[in-house]
Symmetry: C2
Subunit: 431 residues, 2 copies
């Protein structure tokens, strides 16, 4: 057994998981290493942040997914370094040798060098991020209900979402539905429907990576939900009480207690480590440039996939950091390692783009399916269908379907818990 | 509107919530104050601790439950003191006057004066407690899988549950099923079925408050699940690596990294405050003795219900701290206030005991239904049915039913997430 080729996979996201599943019937040993014990269905994380789903609904234990793949071992641990010369991964509490290494550690959010904004404007990459966002959103309404003075109350009902990409659009839409539908009758002093949701985007339209007609459709859908959209607008400062924005060289301050960050990303630090050791290039957000076969230059045993990989071959733009790219690269990388073991050379990786979509609200979405564009309810149904069939595990899929269907009919969001602090309505919040 | 009688309810558990719902059609103003924004279905908390359910599945926002009860206002806040003379509740950030006050703030767990044990042996009263228990249980298996040395591994696979009441029995049973069924195929180095689960009880049998034949049935069911039961045994010390127990004047040390506390309870500090101000008696765990109509002596406007109330009229034993007592007292207290407002006197409170039950595993439970005792699968079905119809909200009920049914058929537990720390496999855990 120990003479078998040993493939180590770092990261149990879409890329790493699909690679592990592709390798499960081959005569190789596989070790999948992740900091967490579960695979997270990240595209639905904004639903946790807005109380529509529980973390458990969109997470599945990695061990459970891989339990019947007897050649795959799951290790819960964090890779701190990669010893490229000796083919070893350095963990926080040990090391693991590899014959081939697949790095799929993804990206986290970034504040463009303004890391001090993080405490005022949490991002959305982990389950903890989502629960913290949910806590802040719900606490803002609770506090507004308690505050007597009208001027003091106003900033608690202003919500700023920074970034008009898919995450920002989805967050703003869900937040608007939470305030205007779900919680409509919940309060006695405030009218939550009067909450102001402001979406800030630096480019000249929301969803800038989508075709222009779909951006326009998303814009209209958001406006129908009451979201105020500021395009061509940059954030220049964030503190506990406000966001400062600049548009056309004029600075304005928006008074808001709740700021949600959906703007920048930065690659996992392993990109930097690999770049130093192999000479591969990094882009401005730390993604590492890979060869057409996803390996690093001069290191056929080292492959990088998913959001961490900068793949720019045969296309003007690098491939986007979305789940379908990671899944296809995971499968490809697994196959290409097996090819190499047989002494063959795999053809270069080619992304088969089946389209992309973003959801705006209960019955509104935009879908770029290449041959045709969908908007509105039809796009939403397509979105629902595609996301649900891709959720890794059957059990979660059933539950999520039911919860979704239920939300759709009742406008309810069942997971509106404020958790994680022993005294939620503490003085620090009311001030 | 402001001339209406103002009833303040402290605590949104079973007692407080049922009182609020009973008052919703009366010509009174009601304010329900809770530290949390949700009602928790505490009897299923052990399912969260063992990964079978998500916190969102057993929690419902209080505002949502009461949204159509327009005379009820929900305030998220913590009552620090009660100014009995001036009929005011002192919150951490303000005060609220009342005409009648219903105190239903319940109990938390206690360590019999050994509060230093808490960090080694978490209890199970809040959602955060349950998530922390789940984290410790799952991390113990993860760590055991990583540890190479056999002697070092052993304490990670020993789980001690302190307390053989319903919570301890349910925890031990669920933990055993998690290890022996759910995770059977999950690991490569360890066999989780070899985990040792030890249940410690000070009395001479588990479920000491139940009839002896049901204790015996529970004992056998637990043994079939592989749980080791130590009765007539006291815990004398707990630290990071072991539990020291005393039985028949002999002390023994059990080497175990995971200790779960299901033993003592102590009443909310408001009991003490009310006792000082009204002269009402407290028992050894801080429950406050109430009059036959649940009021405090000399204070018809002050009622105490649920786990915090010590009700001992017409029975040898005080009423137990279980959900049905709290619900019936909540309804009674609401009615008796309305009676008093009409100038009438309510008949004394009488508990209608419909029985009690505890669940041991997937298809095993014991039920004391007064006229007859049930054990095994039939008791389990009865348990499932009664718990499900009592979960407050329809949405949760559907989801919980489905998840339960699914778990039953697949032996799966979907919510096995290790959350709440950024680096789960940290050195502090592996040591």
């Amino acid at each position: 057994m120990n003479q078998l080729h040993h493939i180590v996979i770092l990261g149990g996201g879409f890329g790493g998981l699909y690679a592990a599943q592709t390798l499960c019937n081959a005569a190789v040993r596989v070790t999948l290493i992740d900091r967490r014990n579960f695979h997270l269905f990240q595209p639905l994380l904004y639903q946790v942040a807005t109380g529509g789903l529980s973390p458990g609904d969109i997470s599945t234990p990695l061990r459970h997914i891989l339990k019947r793949k007897k050649n795959v071992r799951v290790v819960m641990g964090e890779a701190l370094d990669i010893d490229v010369a000796n083919q070893r991964v350095i963990l926080h509490d040990g090391e693991i040798s590899y014959d081939s290494l697949l790095v799929a550690t993804g990206v986290s959010h970034s504040y463009f060098g303004n890391e001090q904004w993080e405490k005022y404007a949490p991002g959305l990459k982990t389950v903890e991020d989502a629960v913290e966002m949910r806590r802040r959103i719900l606490m803002a309404f609770e506090t507004a209900e308690r505050v007597q003075d009208c001027r003091e109350r106003c900033p608690w009902l202003n919500f700023v979402v920074v970034g008009g990409g898919p995450t920002g659009v989805e967050l703003a839409g869900a937040l608007s539905e939470l305030a205007k539908d779900t919680m409509k009758e919940d309060f006695r002093q405030i009218n939550p429907a009067k909450a102001e949701i402001i979406l800030i985007e630096g480019a000249d339209r929301v969803l800038p990576s989508y075709p222009a007609d779909l951006s326009l459709a998303a814009h209209h859908s958001l406006e129908r939900l009451g979201v105020r959209i500021l395009t061509n607008t940059m954030v220049t400062a964030v503190d506990a009480d406000s966001v400062t924005i600049r548009s056309q060289d004029r600075e304005t301050q928006i008074s808001a207690k709740t700021v949600l960050w959906a703007a920048g990303i930065q690659a996992s630090p392993l990109g930097n480590i690999l770049s130093e050791k192999t000479g591969a290039c990094l882009d401005h957000i730390g993604r590492i440039a890979v060869e057409p076969d996803l390996s690093l230059p001069g290191h056929p045993e080292l492959l990088v996939i998913g959001d961490l990989a900068l793949f720019q071959h045969g296309t003007e733009q690098p491939l986007p950091g979305v789940a379908p790219v990671a899944m296809q690269q995971g499968r490809y990388a697994a196959d290409s390692i097996l090819c190499r073991l047989r002494g063959e050379t795999a053809p270069p990786f080619r992304y088969k783009n089946r389209g992309s979509m973003a959801v705006i609200g209960r019955a509104a979405a935009v879908a770029d399916l290449k041959r045709f564009h969908l908007t509105g309810f039809l796009a939403w149904l397509a979105w629902l269908f595609i996301h649900l069939i891709h959720i890794v595990e059957f059990e979660n899929r059933v539950l999520v379907t039911i919860q979704w269907a239920w939300n759709y009919f009742t406008k309810n969001r069942g997971a509106r818990l404020i958790t994680g602090i022993s005294q939620p309505a503490g003085k620090d919040v009311y001030q």
